[in-house]
């Protein structure tokens, strides 16, 4: 419950404050958000499976974000940033979908 409140508060705060995205993190923010979403779905699924562990969640969340940003950064340096971020988004999207499917099975039994 607290976690859900945290998410809602974050969205509200982001909308209210509406800060300018610094130019340095601008290319990485969307990918980082998608990676964090993946981690959140994974965590939710783990919770439904009853194997949720907050330490694992924190590590996976942060490492997801960092690795996604790192891949994008590397891609930018290599000159394939656009393609690589597309690839990252695709992979994360697939994972999110499979996690969502597992969650759905838990919640709706279907």
């Amino acid at each position: 419950m607290i976690a859900v409140l945290g998410l809602v508060l974050g969205v509200v705060a982001g909308l209210l404050v509406g800060p300018e995205v610094p130019a340095v993190v601008e290319p990485y923010l969307p990918i980082a958000v998608v990676a964090a979403l993946d981690a959140v779905f994974g965590g939710l699924r783990a919770m439904l499976d009853g194997i949720f562990d907050d330490k694992v969640f924190v590590v996976s969340f942060l490492s997801n974000v960092v690795v996604a940003a790192l891949i994008v950064f590397l891609g930018d340096e290599l000159g394939v940033g656009a393609q690589l971020s597309t690839g990252v988004v695709v992979v994360l999207g697939i994972r999110i979908f499979s996690n969502a499917a597992a969650i759905r099975r838990h919640v709706f039994r279907a």
């Binding site: 419950m1 607290i2 976690a3 859900v4 409140l5 945290g6 998410l7 809602v8 508060l9 974050g10 969205v11 509200v12 705060a13 982001g14 909308l15 404050v17 509406g18 800060p19 300018e20 995205v21 601008e26 290319p27 923010l29 969307p30 980082a32 958000v33 964090a36 993946d38 981690a39 959140v40 779905f41 994974g42 699924r45 783990a46 919770m47 439904l48 499976d49 009853g50 194997i51 562990d53 907050d54 694992v56 969640f57 924190v58 996976s60 969340f61 942060l62 490492s63 997801n64 690795v67 930018d76 940033g81 656009a82 994972r95 996690n99 597992a102 969650i103 099975r105 838990h106 919640v107």
Partner: protein
């Protein structure tokens, strides 16, 4: 990366039967750990409800809340910055911007070249229309000049009048022709006799007691209206043994008068020659 990665084998095995059979509650290939989980008989749904209500302030909840706060914040910021007015370029990456800039440069260059081409075309057209206008002007001018010669336009200018009164009917066509030739030789530019324009193809014939000019019979007195330089025309007629003396020898009365303004207004239709064609362009 996520929790799911921690136990890939069990996860995979559990997923597969869940998709196929109708009763996922008892997967046949469940690992020992999974069976241990099912001991408390808690389903995923119950766990979800338990997690949501009642709210418990635990370390895990707080940490997850913190991370989710960060996620929500980032999400909202990204969405907000993406939906701004200049969003098209705002989220773009450096290389994309460079590419867009390059494309714009190329486009600008192409348009510039097109503009230059069109401008030079315009200049060309203006020049050519100027030239066409000039050519047309010259053509009109030429037409007027030629019209004076061909007798298709009226002419006026200084000149002389030559009046031949032939009361005795002794003046013949060849004498008048001599007069015309003399006038032409002296630079006459337009001549008419009694209302008939004298042009290059004019012929004179004897016709009863008068003279035919181009088939038009004219009677005496014969009045020549001649445009040209009077100082040249008059002496040309008056030279000894010339036109005037010859006519006077035939007892005709000849009067030559200079005038500042002679109007030659007898016209002749422009005729297209039947056979002769211009051999020049």
């Amino acid at each position: 990366m996520s929790d799911r990665d921690e136990t890939p084998t069990t996860r995979l095995r559990r997923e597969l039967p869940a998709e196929v059979p109708a009763a996922p509650a008892a997967p046949p290939t469940g690992a020992g750990r999974q069976q241990a989980e099912q001991q408390p008989a808690l389903t995923g749904r119950q766990r979800l409800v338990n997690g949501l209500w009642p709210p418990r302030v635990t370390r895990a909840q707080l940490i997850v809340a913190l991370l989710l706060f960060g996620l929500g914040f980032g999400l909202a910021v990204q969405v907000a910055s993406n939906s701004e007015g200049d969003g098209a370029l705002r989220g773009a990456r450096q290389e994309d911007l460079v590419r867009i800039l390059d494309e714009l440069d190329d486009r600008t260059q192409r348009l510039e070249e097109e503009k230059q081409g069109l401008e030079s075309q315009r200049t060309e057209l203006e020049n050519s229309s100027d030239q066409a206008e000039e050519a047309r002007r010259q053509t009109v001018e030429k037409e007027r000049q030629l019209g004076v010669l061909a007798g298709t336009v009226a002419a006026q200018g200084p000149g002389i009048t030559l009046t031949v009164e032939d009361t005795k009917g002794t003046v013949e066509a060849d004498m008048l022709l001599d007069a015309v030739q003399e006038l032409r030789a002296a630079g006459a530019e337009a001549i008419q006799v009694n209302g008939v324009r004298v042009v290059a193809g004019t012929y004179l014939t004897d016709s009863g007691d008068g003279v035919g000019v181009d088939g038009n019979k004219i009677d005496q007195p014969y009045r020549f209206k001649v445009i040209g330089k009077p100082q040249d025309l008059e002496p040309a007629l008056n030279i000894p043994g010339g036109v005037v003396q010859t006519l006077e020898k035939e007892q005709a009365t000849v009067v030559v008068e200079r005038a500042d303004k002679i109007i030659v207004d007898a016209l002749r239709a422009a005729e297209r020659p039947d056979y002769a064609r211009s051999s020049s362009q």
